[in-house]
Symmetry: C2
Subunit: 448 residues, 2 copies
């Protein structure tokens, strides 16, 4: 009797989690991972911070090498192998490597193709010096490029998390940075109380933000020289295109696997696609949104890891369910921490709630404790029921784990009344005696 | 028709919250607060940090002065007034000021007498240079004493939060510090994984911890010179007695108001005592423990504020309920943050659970992100149901708000399975992709 075989398309968070979990639970399983890039396990979210520091090697971000997957976990990793087709009827996939095409059959398949930067249909996007940042290879190329002498000006297209994090990195590398976005707000979707703080922080660090700006062309001969927008022409020695990401679903779609309304692969709570034996996990598939009650495209490393483990466990015969997300997200813009969880006001309204909001600004530490910073907490809640729907935060410190408190509250279906009752920790170095979350919740109780 | 009158015994967190809330809701109410000390609103938990810095005035800790309570809130504050008796039949209290005794009648009474340091029946506790730290006056006296030249050695009796915070403060003031405790663990109650880290941190800062040590006497002529223990004799130019606190319930007891089994005043969820019209809030009364299902003496500024507001609101005719606590607590020991929420293993066992525990140590930030510290998370959970019962944490950063995540989880009755599903925030500066709480929860799921 031959062993069963699991094929995984795509390494990194979801793919390697699935591979590792399946192999751990079913040691006799043959596990092969096909990765089109050069790396299968690295801290992708750490790329901007690595780029910011010329002394650090890009390989610092590698967590586990393919060799270690082989030797320690008995998982076969094929780098620079590009899957070209999934044949669900014959349970096989075609894989190309350096021109040669080979078919591999499977008993189970995990699609972990992730997402990729949205491509801008612009003249000049292939000019030397124009980059996007998605894979570790991109980061390596950017880092090499930045070693050139005479680079002075950078333009970042897109004021989302990656755009903002790269603006900081480029600024730390000594470049003058302009960030452009089609929208007026940065990060997009955030309310004005928060975006105002982000813009102030960018200004403080001499990063220019141009909102409601559309890029028309990128120009340059040997390398990039300028970015033409509908408002102005900006000199540029470096351009980053960071106008969002889209799920990489072509292989799945061509195989007849169902794509959800969000554009990502539809999965059930077991991470199974519409095709028996074919699982999906990570950025290429939907994540169930607990507040919207539907699958959404919300790419996150955390979700990819969770879904990957569940897919792997279920390949090995478990019946684990992914319970869903509330859309928690955090980033750092220089010395400002910015994040949200749950729904923005507009999303809440579209979803049929009657959202009310409150915003408060408080200190991050107790009265008279040195080093305190400001923190702004905005809560979105349902006016009639008081149900908490979301929170958007920005502050000089201690934002991230306060978001997690809200995430826990959202996952438990708390009202603002419940939040006001939280037995929060208090000591002068860490919070005021009324935690900013409770101040906001108390305010919401009164206004609700 | 004369106005109704609310009397409040004791200022600070609970008392002033009750007074302010009642007055805000019922502006015609006459509100008088009697405080035996010199201050009614200050950051008591900030005292060790203020003492640590000789350049800061102790008055920095004052949040609102009695004058402002009068002028802005129309609340009458009587400082240095000591309440000597509550006469519940005639609805009046007797108040002493500088020898003169006066009776004040009330329609409603709020007892907010707080707690006080446990007195040690030891020879020498009244010698000059022997202090306890409870009121702002104590802090002022300590600060004046520390200005004397030639102080070299300090002994802190009690390895709880105040003892540890004061050990740090005294160390920063240049003294050689020894901390004594009857128990082997510091802080008391914490498991060995955590107390080991605390002891290591103390050693790193050259603070000696002597566990299982009993003080026999304090000696000195003009001022304190030494502390005699059952193990050794320690030279001391300064001694802090910080062997815990007890609720200040004498007035209530003498008035026939019911005292709970915990030794604190028994209250219902509306903060009413056993006597109609008499409320209590803060450290002198019990707080309902959600996991133990009974009233407990758990003195916290956060609880005092919440209970005070509720008592004040209910005086004014509201029907608000205090929903209870899970015992969240945090402190800083030099560069280590230490806290817990919910039950310790022993408490859980006494309460009839079958507790299991897991401990993990992880990084506070993502792989390869600079500046990461270690964090240890210990979870206590019920072996059969997986219900989360408590958590104890220690780490170099980001401990406090992780405790609040656990507090929210405990208040929602989460299992470790639920915790493992938390949609936690992730970005390299703030957490690893698997948050330490989730790593611990995943471990607990496997072992449960």
């Amino acid at each position: 009797m031959t062993n069963k075989r699991l094929l995984v398309i795509g390494g990194v968070a979801a793919g390697m989690s699935a591979a590792s979990q399946a192999k751990r639970r079913m040691p006799e399983l043959e596990v092969l991972v096909f990765e089109q890039g050069d790396y299968v396990s690295y801290g992708a979210c750490g790329m901007p911070y690595n780029i910011a520091d010329p002394r650090r090697a890009i390989e610092d971000l590698v967590v586990i090498t393919p060799e270690r997957f082989r030797s320690e976990r008995n998982i076969e990793v094929r780098l620079r192998h590009r899957v070209e087709e999934i044949d669900v009827k014959k349970q096989r996939i075609s894989v190309r490597r350096e021109g040669a095409l080979e078919w591999f059959s499977y008993d189970w398949l995990v699609i972990a193709t992730g997402c990729r930067p949205r491509e801008l249909a612009l003249p000049g996007v292939r000019i030397e010096g124009v980059f996007s940042l998605h894979h570790l290879d991109d980061a390596a190329r950017i880092k090499r490029y930045l070693l050139q002498p005479g680079l002075k000006k950078a333009v970042v297209v897109g004021g989302g998390h990656i755009g903002l994090e790269m603006a900081e990195a480029l600024c730390l590398r000594g470049l003058e940075v302009v960030v452009l976005d089609r929208l007026a707000a940065t990060p997009p979707g955030y309310p004005e109380e928060i975006t105002r703080l982000v813009k102030t922080e960018l200004e403080r660090k001499r990063v220019r933000f141009l909102g409601q700006a559309t890029v028309k062309a990128i120009e340059g001969r040997e390398r990039v020289e300028r970015v033409v927008t509908d408002q102005s022409v900006l000199d540029a020695d470096f351009v980053l295109l960071a106008a969002g990401v889209v799920p990489a679903v072509e292989l799945a779609r061509q195989a007849g696997i169902e794509i959800g309304p969000s554009g990502a692969i539809k999965v059930n709570p077991f991470q199974e696609t519409s095709t028996p034996g074919v699982f999906s996990a990570g950025d290429c598939c939907e994540a169930w949104h607990l507040l919207l009650g539907r699958g959404e495209f919300i790419p996150r490393g955390t979700t990819a890891n969770k879904q990957g483990r569940i897919a792997g466990a279920n390949v090995a015969g478990a019946q684990e369910k992914f319970s869903g997300v509330v859309g928690t997200s955090i980033t750092k813009v220089f010395d400002l921490e910015v994040g949200h969880t749950g729904l923005f006001e507009e999303q809440a309204r579209s979803a049929g709630y009657q959202p009310a909001t409150v915003s408060i600004t408080a200190s991050t530490r107790a009265h008279a404790y040195p080093g305190a910073r400001k923190i702004t907490v905005r809560l979105v809640f349902d006016r009639s029921s008081g149900k908490l729907l979301g929170g958007q935060l920005a502050g000089g410190e201690f934002v991230a784990k306060r978001l997690d408190v809200l995430a826990a509250a959202l996952q438990s279906g708390w009202t603002v009344e419940d939040l006001a009752r939280l037995d929060a920790s208090y000591a002068p170095p860490f919070a005021p005696v009324w935690d900013p979350l409770l101040v906001a919740a108390n305010q919401a109780r009164k206004e609700g």
